[in-house]
């Protein structure tokens, strides 16, 4: 929590004879994040791939070509194939399959090409069917230039008026005009000009002889025969696919793993008799590697931890409890924290559902969202991102239900009881008496909602500055002090806000009597605004310290802190906006449903209500609440401390989905 998994720089060294076993062992354990070896010298060079690499790569190439030919890239084998079965059968299977698949795939491709060519010929010949001239007579003259093609408009008049000796055949066909124009060779340029004015598109005639109508008939017959052949070949391919798809996919996976391991020496240092694998291991798992190497390599390889160098950047594996893990999704969208930075996932876990719940704040929509989240979470288990997103929506939905039930006392935009200010408003009281009254009425306690938003903003931003201080305190005292100055500035600003509002809202009253109780009450009046002297002292202290630590230009950013705080008004704005939208639809449509006295109108209004509530309030409302809740974290909160740019921990490891390793 808040800190990533602790990493230890380690080297695995051993005799070159045990390299293969060591690599296999490291992949099995999946705990070593390899640092690629690049600095070659006379002693140590980049290693050579293991002996089996070349053979396995060739087999893999063949299998992948088969997978493409058989079109089984997306096939998921039903049963996992044991690795020993793959190893026993692969040689024989490759010979048989290679012969069958490649010959069938070639045949299929040739037939498809032939069919495409013949279809092209038919397309070229069809417009000429009614002109009645054999194909060979269109071309092949010494002194005559032929033009055969399609025009948007009939060019025959223009041609006969501009060119003395010409012959034009034409026929209107599907909005185009088919033309065959014959002119003397010397008139070619003029003909080209006239035809281009009529949007002429040339038809490229096939090298065939005979009447176009007969040729089209013959070609159609040939295509039919070819299609029959294609079907036979496809059937053969289908039967191969059915019989071997599982085996091919499982073998491809196994060989890919074999190649991955066999090529790993290209990333490590080897000498004539030894190897050195440099990398990072989670501190808690160093002993696992040692035990495994002792067992498998019989003392020929061992692991040693070394102190990290000053500029080392260990890889980052976020370490969070199971409930918090899904919120790492939001971190993945931005950037991995650096190793020595605070990981803010835990804060996302707390603030996102709270902000979201406050903005949605409705029992009906909250339960709906929680159900939606649960469906995504448990029905799409094969997609890790869907599981995370589902959990996030589920958490947001639960908080929205809690806010809706206890704070705002409303469901589907309809309050449990009519508000005091408007006793005629539709409420659930007409149907069921829920003994919960709202602590806040979205549409009426706007000042209170804003005050709560600002308190949330102050706490959130202050936490950001605290994190900023912690992140900087070891590297740069100056930046750490700047964070304290920002913290004081924010505290002063917020104290002044609460002081100014005074007892006008219960929230500010509470803050003034608790958090700010110890602050002196002294104040002065400035342009009609009561200014707290304590707030001024805090803000001036911050504003004086800031330029000393971050340079004078930082003074231009001071207004930004006010912007940041006001930005949290969106919590209230979204809640009120969503409440207002639901209220508007309910006010328009509920009277039609209950008071119109006409079943048809009532039914139509009910459908309208469901659609508007679903689309505008549930879908758009939840979407914008989600975006705003994460935005407050990404923009206002993260900018106070987060740099990101850490390297993800990606250890040597493989995943077997369709094959089972030997014990």
């Amino acid at each position: 929590m808040l800190r990533p998994e602790e990493m230890t720089r380690s080297v695995v060294v051993g005799s070159i004879d045990s390299l293969g076993v060591t690599i296999e062992c490291l992949y099995e354990l999946g705990v070593l994040h390899l640092i690629d070896f690049t600095a070659q010298d006379e002693e140590f060079r980049i290693g050579q791939p293991l002996r089996e690499a070349s053979d396995a790569s060739q087999k893999l190439l063949k299998l992948r070509s088969m997978i493409r030919s058989l079109d089984i890239e997306k096939h998921k084998p039903v049963d996992k194939v044991p690795v020993r079965v793959i190893k026993r059968r692969i040689e024989q299977a490759l010979v048989t399959l290679d012969l069958n698949v490649s010959s069938k795939a070639d045949a299929r491709q040739k037939i498809q090409t032939l069919i495409r060519e013949k279809e092209g010929d038919i397309r070229a010949l069809e417009p000429l069917v009614n002109l009645g001239i054999p194909v060979e007579n269109y071309e092949g003259y010494d002194n005559i230039a032929p033009f055969i093609g399609l025009c948007k408009r009939d060019p025959s008049k223009a041609i006969s008026s501009k060119i003395q000796e010409s012959e034009t055949l034409n026929e209107v066909r599907k909005g185009d005009v088919v033309v065959a124009v014959f002119v003397r060779s010397e008139d070619r340029a003029e003909a080209v000009r006239i035809l281009s004015e009529h949007d002429f598109q040339e038809i490229k005639l096939p090298k065939l002889q005979g009447n176009p109508a007969d040729l089209v008939g013959r070609l159609r017959g040939e295509i039919k025969d070819l299609e029959d052949d294609l079907k036979r070949v496809e059937n053969d391919i289908n039967s191969i696919r059915k019989q071997f798809a599982d085996f091919i996919i499982s073998s491809e996976e196994d060989l890919a793993i074999e190649v991955l391991m066999a090529e790993t020496p290209l990333r490590i240092a080897t000498s004539a008799n030894s190897f050195v694998i440099d990398g990072w291991i989670p501190t808690s798992r160093v002993h696992e590697i040692q035990t495994a190497l002792d067992t498998l390599c019989c003392g020929l390889a061992f692991v040693e931890t070394i102190p990290p160098e000053e500029h080392d950047e260990p890889p980052v594996e976020l370490k969070n409890p199971k409930a918090v893990k899904p919120f790492e999704f939001f971190m993945n969208l931005v950037s991995t924290p650096k190793y020595d930075e605070i990981d803010p996932t835990l804060i996302l876990f707390i603030t996102f559902p709270l902000f979201f719940g406050f903005m949605v704040g409705d029992l009906g929509f909250g339960v709906g969202l929680a159900l939606l989240g649960a469906v995504i979470r448990f029905k799409f288990k094969e997609y890790p991102d869907a599981v995370k997103l589902g959990s996030i929506i589920l958490a947001g939905g639960i908080l929205a239900s809690i806010f809706g039930l206890f704070v705002f006392a409303e469901a589907f935009g309809v309050p449990f009881h009519p508000p005091e200010a408007n006793p005629d408003e539709y409420s659930w009281a007409a149907a069921v008496n829920i003994p919960i009254h709202p602590m806040l009425e979205k549409m009426h306690d706007i000042k209170e909602m804003l005050a709560i938003s600002f308190v949330a903003g102050w706490l959130h931003l202050s936490l950001g500055f605290v994190f900023g201080f912690v992140n900087n305190v070891h590297h740069s005292k100056k930046h750490a002090i700047a964070k304290v100055a920002w913290f004081l500035l924010l505290l002063g600003l917020f104290e002044e806000m609460m002081f100014f509002v005074g007892e006008a809202t219960a929230t500010s009253g509470f803050m003034n009597s608790t958090v700010f109780a110890a602050f002196p009450d002294a104040s002065f009046s400035f342009s009609g605004i009561e200014v707290s002297i304590a707030a001024v002292v805090l803000m001036v202290t911050g504003a004086v310290v800031l330029p000393l630590t971050e340079g004078p230009l930082v003074l231009t950013e001071i207004v930004g802190i006010f912007t940041n705080l006001v930005s949290y008004a969106r919590l209230a704005a979204l809640a009120i906006g969503k409440g207002g939208m639901a209220f508007a639809f309910n006010t328009m449509l509920l009277p039609l449903i209950f008071d119109s006295g006409n079943i048809a109108i009532a039914a139509l209004a009910a459908v309208g209500l469901v659609i508007t509530q679903l689309f505008f309030v549930f879908f758009l409302g939840s979407l914008s609440a989600g975006i705003q809740a994460i935005r407050l974290n990404y923009v206002e909160f993260f900018i106070k401390f987060f740099e990101g740019g850490g390297t993800d921990f990606s250890p040597l490891r493989y995943e077997r989905k369709y094959s089972v390793a030997n014990k």
Binding site: F330, N332, L333, V334, S335, I446, K447, L450, T563, V566, S567, A569, R570, A573, I627, Q628, I630, R631, Y634, V635
Partner: protein, 73 residues
């Protein structure tokens, strides 16, 4: 309702409306660029989202001004 209150309410409406327009114009341009960047590299989604939602603060200012006008009417 007197004229002053009416004008304050009109002002509140203008504050939200025009601020919303400003946000829309800014967000449209940032959004187009963000979608382009995300199409090139899906990892840019998070950064694109951050940049895209930045102008939303403008409309929040409009909202706050509107509320201040409405409260003081």
């Amino acid at each position: 309702m007197d004229l002053g209150t009416g004008l304050a309410l009109v002002g509140a409406g203008i504050a939200v409306g025009v601020a919303g327009l400003g946000t829309g114009v800014a967000q449209g341009q940032v959004g187009a660029a963000a979608v382009g960047a995300t199409a090139e590299d899906p990892k840019m989604f998070g950064k694109g989202l951050i940049l895209m939602v930045l102008p939303e603060t403008i409309v929040i200012f409009g909202f706050v001004v509107a509320i201040l006008l409405w409260i003081s009417k």
